[in-house]
């Protein structure tokens, strides 16, 4: 049985070889043709991208240490805003994280742990960093009938990818808009610069600058 199979295979191979030789032989003898097409057909993958958009450098000046309630009540004109915009034509699943990084020189002891913040909507109402209220749509003490305490974080708590303030999984092509309301913590004390301040001595306080960093990936996790 196996012998017969082997014979058939050998014969088939020989037959094919003979046919090839015959055809080639004939074409050599009769006609040669070669042509290259002018219309190419190609394919390339779409490219993914993920970028900050609408991020304009913003400086808040002449701010004094404030209680959380006062800082949270500050004007919407003081919001830092930016958007994370994907170019994701194939609806690929993309993960990204956002965190803070100190930028430039810190002056006057105004360090990252002295800057409090909450993520808000365009109206300045907290989306994250707010306290507890049975009705989660209530974002201010006045609105909430329960005991409500604002619970903002400091920038220093979210300064690495691993301690990001936001991790998002997206599979669409829609930009995520973010607003950050930040203020100088009531823990910041001018007196620490010179205690007590002398008459006629101007205390200029400090300055702190930060950027928001983003990293994105199509990997299933960071």
């Amino acid at each position: 049985m196996e012998k017969n199979n082997s014979k058939q295979i050998v014969l088939s191979i020989i037959a094919v070889l003979v046919l090839v030789v015959a055809v080639v032989g004939v074409s050599f003898a009769m006609y040669q043709f070669a042509s290259t097409g002018t219309k190419s057909a190609s394919i390339s993958t779409a490219t993914l991208s993920l970028n900050f958009t609408g991020s304009v450098a913003k400086t808040l000046s002449n701010k004094y240490p404030s209680t959380d309630a006062k800082g949270y009540a500050s004007s919407t004109e003081d919001l830092y805003s930016f958007a994370v915009t994907p170019n994701n034509p194939g609806n690929t699943t993309i993960r990204y994280r956002l965190w803070f990084e100190t930028s430039g020189e810190v002056t006057g002891g105004l360090t990252a742990d002295m800057i409090k913040y909450v993520l808000t909507d365009a109206n300045g109402l907290a989306l994250e960093g707010y306290g507890t209220c049975a009705d989660t749509t209530k974002k201010t003490d006045a609105e909430c009938d329960e005991v409500w305490t604002l619970a903002p974080k400091t920038i220093s708590q979210n300064m690495t990818s691993a301690t990001s303030f936001k991790e998002v999984v997206l599979n669409d092509n829609v930009a995520d808009q973010y607003y950050i309301k930040a203020w100088v913590s009531d823990a910041y004390d001018f007196s620490t610069l010179a205690q007590p301040s002398a008459s006629g001595e101007t205390e200029t306080g400090g300055s702190y600058s930060f950027t928001v960093k983003m990293t994105g990936t199509t990997a299933p996790s960071f």
């Binding site: 450098a57 002449n62 701010k63 004094y64 209680t67 205690q195 306080g205 990936t217 199509t218 990997a219």
Partner: protein
């Protein structure tokens, strides 16, 4: 025999596909990473300037007679000073004016009267005394805002003369406030003057603080 061969082929095929999947997936994992940084955002504090100004020379009253408070306040023997603040927003500064005796003759202190005018208006009790047993700085609103050594020193020998609040006002980023004061020093009208001159001296202290802004 045949089954064994087929099993091997299937196993190899599965392994091959698995390796291919891992390879392809591995490549796709590494295919996309994105990193971006926002614009630089800055937050900076406003400034605070407080000034305690004493435009006149020290007050020295000699050959003082006993007198009533009203006569003392009507007289020209006063020591003037002002307290001012400059900020970039409306800031409230609670302050406390204390006096510290600079001589050790506390027996005579009971005969000395000290008065304070703020903006030309008397703001202290006419019978204010600076006796050693009458120290009340520790109940001041600023008790916890000064360094411990300052508090101890004030509490030991000083007395609160007046407590007030300086509130800066203005527009834009220019806010100021100034208050003017006059300290009056006299011998109580009930004092019987003796054959030997007694003397008493004080220093005026002003301590202020500002709490974090609140709603």
């Amino acid at each position: 025999m045949l089954n064994e061969g087929k099993s091997k082929q299937i196993l190899l095929s599965v392994l091959g596909v698995a390796i291919l999947v891992v390879a392809v997936v591995g490549i796709s994992y590494a295919a996309f990473t994105a990193n971006d940084t926002s614009a630089v955002n800055t937050i900076s504090t406003g400034s605070i300037l407080m000034t305690y100004a004493q435009p006149d020379a020290s007050l020295s009253i000699t050959n003082a007679n006993n007198m009533s408070a009203s006569n003392a306040y009507a007289g020209a023997n006063h020591f003037d000073f002002s307290l001012s603040a400059t900020t970039n927003a409306a800031i409230s500064f609670p302050y406390e004016i204390t006096v510290t005796p600079t001589v050790s003759n506390q027996t005579f202190a009971g005969q000395v009267r000290i008065g304070l005018k703020k903006g030309g208006v008397v703001v202290t009790n006419a019978n204010f005394q600076i006796g050693a047993a009458n120290v009340d700085y520790s109940d001041g609103v600023l008790a916890n805002t000064l360094p411990a050594t300052e508090i101890a020193a004030r509490a030991t020998v000083s007395k609160t003369l007046y407590k007030g609040t300086l509130l800066t006002a203005g527009t834009g980023t220019s806010f100021t406030a100034t208050e003017t004061f006059s300290v009056y020093l006299w011998i109580d009208e009930t004092t019987v003057l003796g054959g030997t001159a007694e003397s008493y001296s004080i220093l005026v202290n002003v301590d202020a603080s500002a709490a974090p802004l609140d709603v």
